[in-house]
């Protein structure tokens, strides 16, 4: 027989009635005995309702929510990264050009005739020697091969070096007439004796300490002999000269004699350079340097300033131009013909149709990087000003000129047609002893340090050119994370220690409580400072440091939580519900963690919330002292530390440290407000 379940039947009838009631309730007034009239709130809901009635707690919660969104979600929506370094274009007085009077000679090779490098390098010193003595021609020998080399001055600042072609015109032998003893006043002849008149002339010359005298139309020389008393009498004259070609006359011979007497290696006679090459026994070969001379090098300190700045000139052009300046005045280079002209001061090179092409100058003006991109007018102005500075003994002078500038975005300034435009700027010439430097204010790309707040960087940038707002977000994340990790560590340690102490009581409780007393006594800030400076010395990476910091903070902070948990558990342990758990035979772990701890939770949550603020304060203080989180990781403390340690930075960069400091304050205040509100909500007994 089928059993009838009366219970089921009753339940179903009740349900039907309820449904009917529900249908009717829309139409009918609520009755006094209606169960739905009394709204029952869960304990959690009660706490929540009490919490949201507290205005300060609400403000705190709002701040916290905003802070969390700011720190954790903000970076995803913000355009900059915390370690991104920004650069900017700023007006900076830059070295624009330098100017210098050029004295060293540049040697251009016309044709390589095998003159050794050593000799080529002597060019400058030879030129100096020639300028001192005023010679226009100078003979020397190639140091390596001994071939005669001729250095010739073409005109001011232009010199040539050639391999000379020489023809021997004569050989000259000195005739040793005899010795004259100044003490005995006596002549000893080598060959035939001369007459008494000659001897008198010798004696007169010796007495007058002359080195040469004339007798009978011939020139005689008196040379120092073997000792002080002895003079060698040397005769020159027709008989001593052997010409290879035609005779060159008495005057030539006298020149030769004088050159020999002076010990010179070369002399000029009738526009021809002759060289003397000494042979054995007082014989000399005399050679004429003539038409066969071959040009090898041209040297000049001149630089070519082309009218069109930056035109590249070939060496052939320069050589031909230098040779033409004091010569024909016209030359052809690279298939184009040019003429040279001078206005007395400057030398110009003109094109065939008379337009100025370049100027020769020993005053060099170049861009500071060495490029020759300045135009002629700039160079002229500079030269004039430098001359004026030297004349008036000034150390600097200014002038205006159009120079290329960069705009604020680092692009060249363009006119409306998109062409590069030159901007009128003020330039300054400074005397730098060795040369002159022209400076000009220009936009320069540099790290945007300590930028004031702007549209681009709402809070400006810091000392490394990083965006403050981005670092505020990153710093907030670190600070909040440190706070949470440390508080969670503290709570775990505190619950374990406090739970054990409170539940078991007796000697375990005593032991743990003494441990808590000990930890209360440890001065935590000094310990943190010592550990911070030790971590500094060990040069750990910022991330490892952060871990250490959190571990130490957590380890030093559990004592108060353990004490709180223990106190709560002691008061709960003897309550009826705990007796019930014991009676129903629950295991110890379950009794502690399922029944005791949840009842301690309200106090724990309050303490943790307040503790979060405290940990954030400790962390930022340590970071401010430079012993906490390190660069390049941003935290609020470090950000303030970087600008608020010196009086100057503190007063100048208020836009950096005040907002960051307010962030710290706001966060900690919010945690305290919320903690306060939670305590009042959990424990309404405190309210009157």
């Amino acid at each position: 027989m089928e059993k009838r379940n009366f219970n089921e039947a009753l339940k179903q009838r009740e349900l039907r009635e309820l449904e009917e009631n529900a249908r009717r309730s829309g139409e009918n007034e609520m009755t006094l005995d209606d169960a739905a009239r009394v709204k029952i709130l869960s304990p959690g809901m009660l706490v929540f309702k009490r919490f949201i009635r507290n205005k300060l707690a609400l403000v705190g919660s709002a701040i916290l929510i905003i802070m969390f969104l700011f720190a954790f979600l903000g970076p995803y929506f913000y355009k900059y990264d915390q370690t991104q370094v920004f650069t900017t274009y700023k007006k900076l007085n830059l070295n624009y050009a330098n100017a210098k009077e050029r004295t060293e000679y540049t040697v251009y090779t016309v044709e390589d005739l095998g003159i050794s490098v050593t000799t080529k390098n002597l060019f400058n010193s030879i030129v100096l020697k020639m300028e001192e003595s005023g010679q226009t021609q100078y003979m020397t020998e190639d140091s390596a091969k001994g071939t005669p080399v001729l250095v010739e001055k073409l005109g001011d600042n232009i010199y040539t070096m050639s391999v000379s072609a020489q023809t021997t015109v004569a050989s000259f032998a000195m005739q040793n007439i005899g010795k004259y003893n100044t003490k005995l006043k006596m002549m000893t002849y080598t060959d035939a004796a001369m007459d008494a008149g000659f001897e008198k002339a010798v004696a007169d010359a010796a007495a007058a300490k002359l080195t040469q005298f004339e007798y009978g139309g011939n020139l005689y020389l008196l040379k120092n002999g073997a000792n002080a008393r002895e003079k060698l009498v040397v005769g020159t004259g027709t008989g001593n000269m052997t010409y290879t070609g035609e005779a060159l006359g008495d005057e030539f011979e006298q020149q030769v004699a004088q050159a020999v007497l002076a010990g010179e290696a070369s002399f000029t006679y009738a526009d021809t350079l002759y060289t003397l090459t000494a042979g054995a026994n007082g014989t000399y070969d005399i050679s004429a340097i003539g038409s066969g001379t071959k040009l090898s090098f041209v040297a000049s300190p001149f630089v070519f300033d082309t009218v069109v700045a930056g035109t590249k000139l070939s060496d052939a052009f320069k050589i031909n131009a230098l040779l033409a300046v004091y010569g024909t005045g016209a030359f052809t280079a690279d298939g184009v013909s040019y003429t040279t002209s001078t206005d007395g001061e400057d030398i110009y090179i003109n094109t065939a149709d008379g337009e100025a092409f370049a100027a020769l100058s020993t005053f060099v003006v170049r861009r500071f990087n060495g490029e020759d991109t300045l135009d002629l007018e700039f160079k002229k102005i500079t030269q004039e000003l430098v001359a004026k500075m030297e004349a008036e003994n000034l150390s600097s002078a200014t002038f205006n000129y159009k120079v290329s500038q960069l705009d604020d975005n680092g692009m060249p300034v363009l006119d409306e047609n998109g062409e590069v435009m030159l901007v009128e700027s003020e330039l300054t010439i400074n005397d730098k002893v060795t040369d002159y430097v022209v400076t000009c204010e220009q936009n320069t790309n540099m790290i945007d340090r300590f930028a004031a707040p702007s549209d681009e960087h709402i809070f400006g940038t810091d000392g490394d050119g990083m965006d403050i707002l981005a670092r505020m977000m990153a710093g907030g994340r670190v600070s909040l994370l440190v706070g949470f990790v440390v508080v969670i560590l503290e709570i775990i340690l505190g619950i374990i220690m406090g739970g054990i102490a409170g539940y078991f009581g007796g000697w375990v409780d005593n032991l743990i409580m003494r441990l808590v007393d000990i930890f209360y006594c440890i001065p935590s800030m000094p310990i943190l400072i010592i550990i911070g400076s030790m971590l500094d010395a060990l040069r750990l990476s910022p991330y490892v440091r952060l871990m250490w910091l959190m571990a130490v903070l957590g380890f030093l902070g559990w004592a108060s939580i353990a004490r709180l948990v223990r106190g709560q558990i002691l008061s709960l342990r003897d309550q009826d519900f705990m007796v019930a758990t014991e009676a129903s035979g629950l295991p110890v772990g379950r009794r502690i963690f399922r029944h005791l701890i949840p009842n301690v939770m309200p106090q724990l949550i309050v303490t943790a919330t307040m503790g979060l603020g405290g940990v954030i304060l400790t962390e930022s203080t340590l970071s401010f002292l430079g012993l906490g989180v390190k660069h390049p990781m941003a935290t609020w403390g470090t950000m303030i530390n970087s600008v608020a340690t010196s009086a100057y930075a503190m007063t100048t960069y208020t836009y950096i440290w005040i907002p960051v400091g307010l962030l710290i304050c706001l966060t900690v205040i919010a945690f305290n407000f919320v903690g306060d509100g939670l305590r009042d909500a959990f424990d309404p007994k405190m309210k009157r």
Partner: protein, 330 residues
């Protein structure tokens, strides 16, 4: 009563022993190369009178750094108990001597700050409790919480900016005006020092006033909720008398206890504040020693701090027992 105090003292000594052991263990576990490097650096400072090797030898002799933790600890304890902490590496004198030089200024700073804290915080706390949820209460609560929430360095920097730089009323660092301090009379010198202590004192007051204010308020609220207050009101006492005689006196019990407990901390100096304002007190001196690994002074300072904390707890316990007979009985 005597037995109770004796018991607490003995317990304190045991705790002190353990704290010192922990501190010593920490110092002992500092990496050797860190100590070596610091000794080298300090020996090269101008005015240092010993070489690094001499210092390390001293350290080993007095601090037993070359022995095991326990052996070393007792070596150190033996000399520390008689006040011999070796010679400070930074200051070149025994820590106790340096301590005697600098403790005065720390005490003055602490005492002045505490005095102002008390005369501001306690009346405000009581006022807030009397008008709970009134405008005064909200203001006091907010001000107290803001004070607690401000980092010391931020308050100090703000004060420096406003009163030191913008208004120019105070100098922002140091205890004396370096330029003309020596030309002042004795009285002028004292005034000059007091003038330099104004900003640090304000900093300390701003930071710590909130706690005392909230503590007073909470206790006052508890007292006002008590039955004897209701009785007092019920028997028709004027509200003034209820607050000033019945409630206030009972509020004072925990407040005086906690203030008594913080008396020893007057000597502990304000580590961060002194450092920020370069006030040469015990906190500043200790900070300078700690960041360069001057072990003798650091050990002295840590031991000193531990003793102060224990002393504070002891005073608090005893005061509790004195004012509240129930504690004595349990």
């Amino acid at each position: 009563m005597g037995k109770f105090i004796l018991k607490r003292i003995l317990l304190s000594i045991v705790i002190l022993f353990c704290v010192m052991l922990i501190i010593y263990t920490l110092m002992h576990s500092l990496p050797t190369n860190y100590i070596d490097t610091m000794a080298q650096q300090l020996a090269q400072r101008p005015g240092s009178n010993k070489s690094a090797a001499e210092w390390l030898a001293d350290l080993n002799a007095k601090y037993g750094m070359d022995k095991g933790i326990l052996g070393g600890f007792f070596t150190w304890l033996k000399s520390a108990v008689v006040g011999d902490f070796g010679e400070s590496w930074v200051h070149n004198v025994p820590p106790t001597e340096k301590f005697a030089d600098v403790i005065g200024i720390s005490f003055i700073l602490g005492a002045v700050s505490m005095f102002f804290e008390i005369i501001i915080a306690i009346p405000l706390g009581i006022l807030a409790a009397k008008r709970q949820y009134g405008a005064v209460d909200y203001t006091v609560t907010v001000v107290a919480l803001v004070g607690i929430s401000m980092p010391t360095f931020f308050v100090a920097t703000l004060l420096k900016l406003i009163f030191g730089v913008k208004l120019g009323w105070f100098e922002i660092t140091g205890l004396t005006s370096a330029r003309y301090y020596d030309t002042l009379t004795r009285f002028g010198q004292i005034m000059n020092q007091a003038w330099h202590l104004v900003l640090p004192a304000i900093t300390i007051i701003v930071i710590s006033i909130g706690g005392l204010m909230r503590y007073t308020r909470t206790n006052m609220l508890e007292v006002l909720n008590a039955d004897y207050i209701r009785t007092a009101r019920a028997k028709g006492l004027p509200e003034k008398k209820v607050i000033n005689y019945h409630a206030f006196r009972n509020t004072l019990i925990p407040v005086v206890t906690i203030l008594g407990g913080s008396l020893p901390s007057l000597f502990s100096g304000a580590l961060i504040t002194e450092q920020l304002f370069s006030i040469p007190g015990i906190g500043y001196t200790a900070y300078q020693s700690m960041i360069v690994g001057d072990i003798p002074f650091t050990m002295f300072y840590l031991s000193f701090m531990a003793i102060l904390t224990l002393l504070g707890n002891l005073i608090m316990d005893v005061l509790y027992a004195v004012v509240d007979p129930r504690v004595r009985l349990s």
